[in-house]
């Protein structure tokens, strides 16, 4: 029977196919983006401070220098963050560039390229709480050698 002659009210139907198409597209997009975001966050426990004066860096251009701890054993360490080997495993600049501790001149060079691309960029130094100062200090030197005058040390924000 042709719909023209169908009696009674018309039954509306929604075509969900484009919606599903778009949704899957979004899912794929967010999966890729979240990979990049999580790559930038090297797993570690950042220092917890007494009477912390940390502040939030607003929406500015920043490049994160992460110093990875010897291993990451998850949030179980949060109660005793210092009870962990103090050797650094690698240094990561931004989301993808990894350097061994013997490759600090390359880190300097890569950081110099970043700061030349954008002189306003803020450098964040994100190190694990348990790292030895003797491991961190050469990396601070490498950052200085790239012509960066100030770094932002990452620590936990105080609880409100």
């Amino acid at each position: 029977m042709s719909t023209v002659f169908q009696r009674g009210p018309v039954k509306p139907e929604m075509n969900m196919t484009p919606l599903i198409d778009v949704t899957f597209l979004l899912i794929v997009f967010f999966m890729l983006v979240s990979n990049i975001v999580s790559n930038e966050r090297v797993p570690m426990v950042v220092p917890q401070l007494e009477d912390s004066k940390t502040r939030e860096l607003g929406d500015i251009e920043k490049v994160v220098v992460s110093i990875a701890p010897a291993s990451f054993s998850g949030d179980a360490r949060l109660d005793a963050p210092l009870d962990h080997p103090g050797q650094a495993r690698y240094v990561q600049l931004g989301a993808g560039q990894r350097f061994q501790l013997t490759q600090l001149p390359q880190l300097t060079e890569a950081l110099r390229r970043e700061t030349q691309k954008n002189p306003e960029v803020e450098v964040l130094l994100r190190g694990d709480a348990a790292l030895y100062y003797g491991q961190v200090q050469p990396i601070m030197d490498a950052i200085t050698a790239a012509g960066v005058g100030t770094v932002n040390l990452v620590a936990l924000m105080p609880d409100d």
């Binding site: 950042v46 220092p47 007494e50 502040r55 009870d83 040390l153 924000m157």
Partner: protein, 174 residues
């Protein structure tokens, strides 16, 4: 005759009153929207965001000045400011502990260090006209090579909390 008895009624015999076709309701025929697909997608999105939404943790930053130069003494054309030297030494038995020293004074906690530094600050507006050090007096944090990074950042934070502005890190001292 026998045959007629043995043969029961035909099962598929047409019933006398076939069921009437159900009538459409006369008015108010509401079309049904199939929401299943949309709900599927929405739950998918919900789960996705629930899983991915814990990327940000509550981390903040402390802006610091990096060590400059080679450590060689500068020209003695003017009297250099008396810098405050904070010495951090890791515990011998347990290197997660730290000893905090300013000169010969020893502190147990970083809160003590903060209070002591704040009391030494020259700040007439805050009622401290006799303080020893200007707020921009250099502070050097000298940490041993096996002092944990958390203690170093804590010392830095204590200096900031005592409202000093010129804090730097020295090379590891053993």
């Amino acid at each position: 005759m026998l045959e007629a008895i043995a043969q029961p009624e035909k099962l598929d015999a047409p019933r006398e009153h076939p069921p009437r076709r159900r009538r459409r309701p006369l008015s108010g025929g509401v079309g049904q929207l199939n929401l299943t697909a949309m709900i599927d997608v929405i739950f998918l999105l919900l789960i996705y965001f629930v899983v991915t939404s814990n990327f940000r943790t509550d981390e903040g930053v402390l802006t610091a000045t990096l060590p400059q130069g080679t450590g060689a003494p500068r020209e003695a054309t003017e009297l250099p400011p008396q810098k405050i030297e904070l010495r951090l030494t890791a515990g011998v038995v347990d290197d997660t502990t730290v000893a905090i020293q300013q000169g010969t004074t020893t502190f147990v906690t970083f809160a003590q260090l903060r209070d002591s530094l704040a009391a030494q600050r020259l700040d007439p507006e805050a009622g401290q006209p006799n303080g020893l050090f200007e707020p921009d007096n250099p502070i050097v944090i000298q940490a041993g090579p096996n002092v944990r990074w958390q203690h170093v950042v804590n010392a830095f934070n204590a200096c900031l909390a005592a409202r000093y502005t010129n804090i730097s890190f020295a090379k590891p001292v053993s």
